[in-house]
């Protein structure tokens, strides 16, 4: 496999911009590339996306492969797998990184199987083993109860999808130099077997969960849809986004787009206030990147207190209104 060289990132574009996971992957990928003394490249797929190449270089890429085709406007499994297969076969990277996003979790396994290699999904840490020079792929398993470290010894590229907020982007540096290479998609439209007929946005009004600096989350212990209105009140005072664990979503108390956890959103705010949240591993997988976790729970033994910086043991029905009132007073509201 001596011929496989370089770290390649599969980029994602959201609303005409490089998505945050892409700059994070470029930051993490830069470290891997430097450890190996190899090049870092980015693949940009889409329609009218070439102008983003300079931004990718500013965020750490040495080379940007642009595949521009109107057929790539929307993510579709068949078209994106075919294009990535072509690019990987042409460039022969040693490592290929994707985001653990709606696109990456769909694209990565099919691409890995087609290339006859393997991928580790939802990695939280990647490093280069100093001796073997293999990429060590760390991922949570069993809902976050354990961690596993994998290596792909024989086949190339070594592939991983990376959880959002697990890696830090580099400072943008517009003086960085890099090369832009255009690659033909070579897509045959008849190979695209699925058709996206509609896109429905379910975004809740207010601050986006993934971008919020403060998140207020309610758990199963909230007990009802009405109880979440009290959380909304606190969120309003703090300028926070509201989140939920899985049970309130499954019970229909809140829309499923509020779910924070392994199968929901991954958040990393400065302040994460968990109310009536037990702290299951599945939930913590979505919020353990928070800088300060605050727990309010009546069960002193709840797992959330093992993860929290500050906590109050008490019934949220009594604690929450008093807390909201005091915060409002302190913030001069």
């Amino acid at each position: 496999m001596a011929e496989n060289k370089g770290v390649m990132v599969c980029g994602e574009i959201i609303e005409g911009k490089l998505s945050s996971i892409t700059t994070e992957l470029l930051g993490g990928g830069r470290g891997l590339a430097d450890a190996l003394g190899e090049e870092l490249s980015l693949v940009l797929m889409g329609s009218g996306v070439g102008h983003l190449a300079s931004e990718a270089i500013a965020f750490g890429a040495d080379k940007v492969f642009v595949v521009d085709d109107p057929l790539l406007k929307d993510y579709q499994t068949d078209s994106y797998v075919a294009v990535m297969e072509k690019v990987v076969k042409q460039v022969s990277p040693n490592i290929l990184l994707l985001g653990q996003t709606a696109m990456g979790r769909d694209l990565a396994p099919r691409l890995a199987f087609r290339l006859d290699t393997a991928v580790s999904m939802d990695c939280v840490e990647l490093s280069i083993d100093p001796e073997s020079k293999l990429m060590l792929q760390t991922r949570p398993v069993y809902g976050g109860n354990a961690r596993a470290i994998y290596a792909c010894e024989e086949t190339r590229p070594q592939m991983a999808t990376v959880r959002s907020k697990a890696m830090d982007p580099l400072e943008r540096d517009d003086s960085r130099k890099g090369e832009v290479v255009s690659i033909e998609s070579g897509l045959d439209p008849s190979l695209i077997r699925t058709k996206v007929v509609e896109k429905v946005k379910e975004e809740v009004a207010g601050i986006k969960l993934e971008d919020a600096e403060v998140v207020v989350t309610g758990g199963r212990g909230m007990g009802s849809a009405e109880a979440f209105q009290e959380l909304e009140a606190l969120a309003k005072v703090l300028g926070a986004a509201v989140g939920a664990t899985r049970p309130p979503c499954d019970n229909g108390w809140v829309p499923s787009s509020l779910q924070v956890g392994l199968t929901g959103k991954i958040v990393g705010p400065t302040l994460y206030i968990a109310v009536a949240v037990s702290g299951s591993s599945q939930h913590m997988a979505g919020c353990s990147g928070s800088k300060n976790i605050i727990a309010i729970n009546k069960d002193a033994e709840a797992n959330i207190f093992k993860e929290a910086r500050f906590g109050v043991v008490g019934d949220y029905k009594k604690v929450l209104p008093a807390f909201t009132a005091k915060v409002k007073e302190l913030l001069g509201g």
């Binding site: 499994t77 996003t101 709606a102 979790r105 769909d106 396994p109 099919r110 890995a112 199987f113 006859d116 393997a118 991928v119 999904m121 398993v141 069993y142 809902g143 109860n145 354990a146 961690r147 596993a148 470290i149 994998y150 792909c152 086949t155 699925t194 058709k195 996206v196 007929v197 896109k199 429905v200 946005k201 379910e202 993934e210 899985r246 499954d250 499923s256 787009s257 199968t263 302040l271 605050i294 727990a295 309010i296 002193a300 207190f305 093992k306 993860e307 910086r309 500050f310 906590g311 109050v312 019934d315 009594k318 604690v319 008093a322 807390f323 009132a325 005091k326 915060v327 302190l330 913030l331």
Partner: protein, 267 residues
């Protein structure tokens, strides 16, 4: 009427308390906790439910396929008790030590042996190793399209209409069968088996197929077919350093918490 196949996995109950979870670091294996029951992986139950909703609307036949060992028959028969028609088990020492790829290969070979299919359902990921690769892998081995993380699946005029969950909502995707779909929890709660269903499921013959039965190449199965190597398995250390804020009563503790957050400049 559609022929449907649902792939399910039997796992240790993922809702079991985290404190009961142990690993054998030397063997790189999870130690089965005593008293933790076996269940059908929750996303796989939702995959069964997705197939049953189509059967409710249009009729059809549902065959459940499960690869594993140490099957608890009452547990693995549950999809049949919910309303699936048949269950086939895949069990062979040759399947052991597999990664997602070699499992997907074995399931794809078993599906080829079943022969006729319009829709194949899997859970979005097994709630033990959380890899989320097997569904896409089966589709790749069979050369059929796949749609992942579905919250609704319908058959409309012979076409499949899938609502696929994405970050800010969902996409509606149309595709003609055959097709593989992975199902997410947004689909909603799976139905409970009724007593009649449980009794009927208990009476059904459950064939077990081996690697030879499905015509699989030994070099592609289990550890031999795996492309990824598990180097280490461990339980991450948690730092227990939570400062509990006290008060005369819950209201005072709440106010003290707010003051504390102010003091450390978090608000």
């Amino acid at each position: 009427m559609p022929n449907m196949i649902v792939c399910v996995k039997q796992i240790a109950d993922p809702e079991a308390p985290a404190g009961s979870f142990r690993v054998d670091e030397a063997a790189r294996k999870v130690i089965p906790a005593s008293g933790v029951s076996q269940v059908v992986s929750p996303f796989d139950e939702q995959a069964v439910e997705a197939a049953l909703r189509i059967k409710d609307a249009q009729g059809g036949k549902i065959t459940v396929l499960s690869l594993g060992k140490d099957f608890v028959m009452d547990v693995i028969r549950k999809p049949m008790a919910m309303g699936a028609d048949e269950l086939i088990l895949l069990q062979d020492p040759a399947f052991e030590g597999a990664d997602s790829r070699s499992i997907a290969y074995a399931l794809a070979m078993a599906i080829k042996k079943i022969g006729e299919y319009d829709l194949i359902f899997c859970g979005r990921q097994a709630a033990d190793w959380d890899a989320g690769q097997v569904g896409s892998g089966i589709a790749e081995f069979l050369g059929i399209p796949s749609v992942t993380v579905a919250k609704k699946v319908e058959l409309v005029d012979g076409n499949v209409r899938v609502e696929r969950v994405v970050t800010d909502g969902y996409e509606v995707i149309e595709v003609s069968p055959p097709l593989l779909i992975t199902v997410s929890n947004e689909l909603g709660e799976p139905r409970y088996p009724k007593l009649k269903g449980i009794m009927a499921a208990a009476r059904k013959e459950v064939p077990t197929w081996t690697a030879e039965d499905i015509g699989a190449e030994p070099s592609k199965l289990g550890a031999a077919g795996a492309r990824i190597k598990l180097l280490k398995l461990f339980i991450p250390v948690r730092e227990a350093k939570c400062e509990i804020i006290e008060g005369e009563n819950p209201e005072e503790a709440a106010a003290n918490l707010a003051l504390k957050l102010r003091e450390v400049k978090l608000i």
